[in-house]
Amino acid sequence: MATFFEQLINGLTIGSFYALVALGYSMVYGVMKLINFAHGDLFALGSYLGYTLLVASSSWVTVHFGLWGGMAVAMLFAFTGIGLAGVLMERVAYRPVYPAGRLSLVVSALGMSIFLQNGIMALWGSRPQAYPAAVVPSARFSLLGLPVTSLQVVILLLSFTLMLVIWFIVEKTTFGAAIRATALDRSTATLMGIDVRVVIFFIFALGPALGGIAGVMNGMYYRAISFNMGWTYGLKAFTATILGGIGNIPGAMIGGLLLGLMESLFAGYVSGAWKDVFVFVILIAVLLWRPTGLLGEKTAEKV
């Protein structure tokens, strides 16, 4: 039972990283119909930004704001930095390619991803870096008789809060309606007086920024970060997005959490080496059963 609980908490934690990255994927896809393959690398960049802030000014940030305060500052830094990077990326790599069609966009996204990954390597080196123990909160306590770390609790609480906020913005606010309208039909949205440029700006800022926060949390949780971790997380998050139904906000959250849970339960009870195979087999099975993902809408093509 203790193992089960451990795997459950672990799965939910990883799942919430996936979910946050998947949210960004899904938001960008929903509006732009673009699979942003560089999204995972922005997540990695977020990890490095947080790391740099904490290490470079470790004494200062941690002394001034405390452990949790330092973590919050690092997240805010990554959030802002990656948000800016996201907007910049859209301007530089995607906007000029839109007229060329979707396949060209994929290549541009892959180019961006290679660029970012090697940029990180050039700046921080190819060897993995570690978040120093001194900046990571590590208090353990027992919750209903089961052991958890305070970091896990904070990660879960914060991730769920962020997901709720995003869900609220997209589903319940006027601006969210503008986002959804743009996702459904861009030209009609423009005709209805929606400034599509603002929507795109917002999507490319917020989506990656969430990944930036996830990057810092991931760094805190696993401590080790490496320049190429974006591929793995990007791929997993993309899988989660599709699993939930691409372009669907609650779908991305559910997909991410489910993926994390399946992964860690399978690793705990069956085999760690085959866990990713299991995940992809499940994904394919789900798509055979529901070709547009768990929450994806069935779209009959009009002929």
């Binding site: 896809y29 699979i35 393959f37 530089v92 790599a93 000029p96 390619v97 007229p99 060329a100 069609g101 396949l103 060209s104 966009l105 994929v106 290549v107 541009s108 892959l110 180019g111 961006m112 991803s113 290679i114 660029f115 970012l116 990954q117 090697n118 940029g119 390597m121 050039a122 190819s126 591929w231 791929l235 993309f238 899988t239 599709i242 691409i246 080496a273 085959w274 990713d276 195979v277 992809f280 087999v281 994904l283 394919i284 798509l287 055979l288 070709p291 547009t292 993902g293 009959a300 093509e301 002929v303």
Partner: protein, 640 residues
């Protein structure tokens, strides 16, 4: 025309036809041969050039391996437009099959060359056939998943077969009838000879009905299916062929490296292949080879920048897509003339083709005979009402709780024009979609020519003789007009992949028949002079005619037109009526959805009226015109 010249023409290095006023020089007459000979000589001489070291010969060898992979992905991604980001899986299968069978059972490498291809192809068939119906991005993630599953399986070393993360060492080299291939130069030549053979086959496929069918699917899947292309089969064929070529590349790679390991088959590798195809130009054979050269040579040239080289590479990919989104050597379809189609034995004057394609009207006339145009149709089993070509009995289609078509009996009399009218949203197009197989009826029965066609696939129904056009025109936009129409005779064609590669007599004859039929129909609708223009460049009205010509080219008994006059002005509508009446004279039966009352009343022999999914009236045009219920359906009921 020599084979060589033929190939060169098709890859785009066409010799210009010597025009009448210029005397044909030796150069212009034999340009195709010469270009091929020079290219071949350059390739053969490359390793013997004084400044070329073994290192650069190996680079050229790897360009070859990636060219092969690029060509193999180009079939799936470039020709059919399937989003495959896991193509490395098939490459890995080929390499591991070679490694395992060579190191354990000592099967010679040269025997494993075809065997790797075969096993990779079989694997592709098994894993893609359940998921081939998935659309765009969903298929993409599945291919990524397949790629990852294969790679992880290799790492996990099942049954001690794959050697785990370290892979397998000690693979032998190929031995060609006693000649062992082991030096860099030998491997280089061996690989490029194989590529040469494969390119020959691919060029021929590209210019056959197989290649065209792939392109139709890429351009518009629904329109392709509705023009008689068996979409599922052609997609699977692309995957199987692509995997076979990737398997060949895997075999060559494994025997050169003498070892394989999972690191060579990552997702990054798959995305590089994707970039190769896009860099070269979708569906372009020389483009894929050029793309491979860039992807392999670029990092080599920038080696002095060490870790920055991939940074530049990423940048270069983005810049390429911004400044040359079509790729470096895109396949040009317009402006190559009919010769660009690569069909042998066409008349020297294009116009003569129209006469060749003129159908024998005597054969077309009696639309009720069982065997027409050599198509093997199932035997007549259903008794239909006298003189009827098509009948629906209680045709019903429900979308969830909504009944779009309710218990509809439609009768289409042979050799006549029947019109289906009704307010917007009445369910007319839905009924058409049921008849042509795009939707499966919830209940009811559809009979055509004495056969049940209820629930058959669109490409089967069209081969029985029902062709259609779409309300919102669906052409193959980036193909030429003649290529668009050549999709029509596709549904009656028999030649397979092998025949297309070998240019068998029957295949060549069939291709000539296809292009001639297309030429005749193109001329019939007055678009002959646009034959080499891309369909998307035609004005709207002409696109409608092109679509009608494409439907006619399937040699149907029944032609179903969905709002043919929409978007046409009065003059154009009158021209259309003239054409439709001429078609009836030729022996076609017509069924129209039409809103333009002048057209309906002017040419219809029979009119059925639909409202809210139900038939509310039918009869002669003038009777329907004055029917109270019909007027109410269109104009609403007056309040008393």
């Amino acid at each position: 025309m020599g084979i060589t010249e033929n190939i060169l023409k098709r890859v785009g290095l066409r010799a210009n036809k010597p025009s009448g006023d210029q005397p044909a020089t030796f150069w212009s007459k034999n340009r195709g041969w010469l270009v091929l000979a020079i290219t071949g000589a350059l390739f053969a001489a490359y390793p013997f050039l004084p400044f070329i070291t073994d290192y650069w010969i190996d680079v050229a060898f790897f360009v070859g391996v990636y060219a092969l992979l690029g060509l193999s992905l180009n079939i799936v991604l470039g020709e059919v437009g399937l989003f495959d980001l896991g193509h490395t899986a098939f490459y890995a299968i080929g390499a591991y099959v070679t490694a395992i069978l060579n190191t354990t059972l000592h099967v010679p490498i040269i025997v494993l060359l075809p065997l790797s291809a075969l096993i990779a192809a079989g694997f592709a068939y098994l894993v893609t056939s359940p998921v081939i119906h998935l659309k765009g991005d969903y298929l993409c993630i599945v291919t990524i998943g397949i790629g990852e599953i294969v790679r992880l399986t290799m790492i996990n070393n099942p049954f001690n077969l794959t050697g785990g993360p370290n892979g397998i060492n000690g693979i032998g080299g190929p031995n060609l009838f006693g000649l062992a291939i082991n030096s860099s130069t030998q491997f280089y030549l061996y690989t490029w000879v194989i590529i040469g053979i494969i390119v020959f086959g691919l060029v021929r496929l590209q210019h056959s009905r197989i290649g065209r069918a792939w392109n139709y699917i890429r351009e518009d899947e629904t329109a392709a299916e509705a023009s008689g292309v068996d979409v599922r089969t052609y997609k699977l064929l692309a995957f199987v062929l692509g995997a076979a070529l990737a398997g060949v590349a895997g075999n060559i790679y494994a025997s050169k490296q003498m070892s394989v390991s999972p690191q060579s088959f990552t997702f990054i590798e798959s995305s590089l292949l994707f970039c190769i195809v896009l860099l070269g130009g979708l569906g372009s054979i020389p483009g894929s080879i050029l793309g491979a050269a860039v992807v392999v040579v670029f990092p080599e040239v920038f080696r002095q920048f060490a870790s920055y080289r991939l940074l530049f590479f990423g940048l270069a990919l983005m810049l390429m897509m911004i400044f040359r989104p079509g790729g470096m050597w895109p396949r040009k379809r317009e402006g190559t003339g009919l010769e660009g189609l690569g069909i042998r034995g066409l008349p020297t004057k294009d116009e003569d083709l129209i006469l060749v394609g003129k159908p024998d009207l005597a054969i077309l006339k009696p639309a009720s005979t069982a065997v027409v145009r050599g198509v093997r149709l199932p035997p007549v089993t259903v008794a239909m009402d006298e003189g009827m070509l098509l009948q629906t009995h209680g045709g019903t289609l429900k979308f969830g709780g909504l009944t779009a078509v309710n218990n509809f009996d439609l009768n289409v009399r042979s050799g006549k024009i029947t019109s289906l009218i009704g307010p917007n949203g009445a369910g007319k197009t839905t009924l058409f979609n049921m008849i042509t197989g795009i939707y499966k009826p919830t209940s009811g029965q559809i009979d055509f020519l004495g056969r049940h066609i209820t629930g058959l696939k669109p490409h089967t129904i069209i081969s029985y003789g029902i062709a259609r056009t779409f309300q919102n025109i669906r052409l193959f936009p980036s193909l030429t007009c003649i290529e668009n129409i050549m999709s029509g005779p596709q549904c009656h064609a028999q030649s397979g992949t092998w025949a297309a590669v070998m240019h068998t007599i029957a295949e060549v004859r069939e291709e000539r028949h296809i292009v001639a039929t297309a030429a005749y129909r193109l001329d019939q609708v007055g678009l002959w002079k646009y034959r080499n223009e891309l369909a998307k460049n035609l004005p709207y009205g002409k696109q409608r005619y092109l679509e009608i010509a494409r439907a006619l080219a399937t040699a149907p008994h029944l032609l179903i037109l969905d709002e043919p006059s929409s978007g046409l002005n009065d003059k154009e509508s009158e021209d259309l009526m003239v054409l439709l009446q001429a078609l009836v004279k030729e022996g076609f039966t017509l069924l129209l959805i039409e809103h333009h009352m002048q057209v309906v009343m002017g040419i219809s022999d029979w009119v059925a009226v639909m409202d809210m999914g139900q038939k509310i009236a039918e009869g002669l045009p003038k009777d329907v015109y004055n029917n109270q219920r019909v007027i109410e359906a269109y104009l609403g009921k007056e309040d008393d």
